[in-house]
Amino acid sequence: MKTYDEINKKIESQKAVVLTADEIIEYVEKKGLQAAAREVDVVTTATFGPMCSSGCFINFGHSKPKIRISEAWIEDVLVYSGIAAVDAYIGATQLRYNDPANMNYPGEFIYGGGHVIEELVAGKKLQLFALSYGTDEYPRREIRTYFTINDLNQAIMVNPRNCYQNYNVAINCSDRHIYTYLGLLKPNKKNITYCSAGQLSPLLNDPYYQTIGIGTRAWLAGAHGHVYAEGTQHCSLTERGENGVPTGGAGTLALTGDMKQMNPDFVRGVSLKGYGVSLALGIGIPIPILNTEILKRTAVRDRDIYAPLIDYSNDYPNCSGKILYKFNYEELKRGEVFFEGKQLEVSSLSSYTKALEVAQILKDEIRRGEFFLSKPIAKLPLQQSFKPLKIRKKD
């Protein structure tokens, strides 16, 4: 019905009709699929939540005399420097030097890689300390200096896994408190935590990856980035409901974007008691309404998206694969969840408020002719499973 070129031309002339994945639901209900598909050009999807597999490559530039950095710390957080002389990778979950971690259980994990990335984007001055073994052309053995993101030549976020297509709901069936990446879970199935934007989440609006693929332009915390690969652990073969939407963690996206364009409101360090540090990101992905089928998928509702309830005290750590129950996102978001005849207390780690904000900002940018869509250069795999790690002898 429509092509990427046609939609981009409308965006250029500021005439594109854009709605968020939240707004499109009522719109389709009111106008009908056919009419809505003719009228609407783009639906914006979004999510905001902790995404551990995030980080960034930075380049410091050369000091005088030069150093070939072999070990480096930013604000005492180790950064990977096993690459070229003054390049480094800051990983979101790296702990600060001397953090007691869980030696004092549950650890507090106040500061780490995610916080370094947050402060970098916020323009704060950070300390670099680096060592080297020294070479003929890179004689310096040690350096301590302060820098901001503006002093760096490049600061490029490169996230191997973001935007999980659906996610587990965690519960604790044991009789003691457990501290997880989904927060504190009280004993004896008292509370649960979910983590997805549901009907607003990118891959839940494009369950078969018809428009989101490698090369798709994405709004990464304010930067105009893109999908550079399938995300790690991409598992498109996860069980799906009748509407094609996976009923558990499935596809994932690898994203990249220029940190110098990012908005600090959507790049936030995370401290999870007893678990560690991470980075929460706001991500938006536009879906071009090329035909009625694509539109129909974007009109998916929370009540038709199901997430699996998993016991994080036993089944999750031991990979049992057991699913206790399935909840839909409507009940999860309303906090009205019953399991085994009892009402559960509901927490979430994904911010719907922030996700709505992202979807709205992206919508406005497209309407103003500032954000264009790109056709994927390759599709995300549709027939892919997620293999476990076998523990075997060398033989």
Partner: protein, 136 residues
């Protein structure tokens, strides 16, 4: 009868004064202590609910103000930084009085009702973004 939440700061010189005793005995107030940390020779803090006749409460505040103890009727011991809050909702199942709650489930914005807060500090321990903190 009305109930008021007060936050008292005890400077070093005042930590040995039995303020609560006087509130009960002289002003007929019912005291509910949320949190207290008053150690001799150190500064101290006290967060209480006082219930009683409006005029008695007013008089009792006058009485406290006569000493060097500082009374604060607005600024509580638990502080929530709205700029740090991302409205993720992790606090919801940890707040026992629903002081932290969601009004509009379509927007899922986390709101804080100071009056309901009993300063158990569960949110301080559980907020991934450090939005809630205790001033003592």
């Amino acid at each position: 009868m009305e109930t008021k939440k007060l936050y008292l700061f005890f400077p070093k010189s005042e930590t040995e004064k039995p303020i609560i005793y006087h509130l009960v005995k002289d002003y007929n107030l019912i005291i509910n202590i949320f949190r207290a940390k008053i150690t001799p020779e150190e500064e101290g803090y006290l967060v209480i609910d006082v219930t009683g006749k409006e005029e008695d409460i007013e008089k009792s505040i006058e009485f406290i103000k006569k000493s060097k103890v500082k009374v604060n009727e607005t600024n509580k011991g638990l502080q929530r930084d709205v700029n740090k809050c991302t409205h993720c909702g992790n606090c919801l199942s940890h707040c026992p009085t629903k002081a932290l709650h969601i009004k509009d489930f379509n927007l899922r914005k986390v709101e804080f009702d100071e009056v309901l807060c009993i300063e158990c500090l569960a949110c301080v321990k559980n907020c991934p973004f450090g939005a809630c903190s205790s001033i003592f």
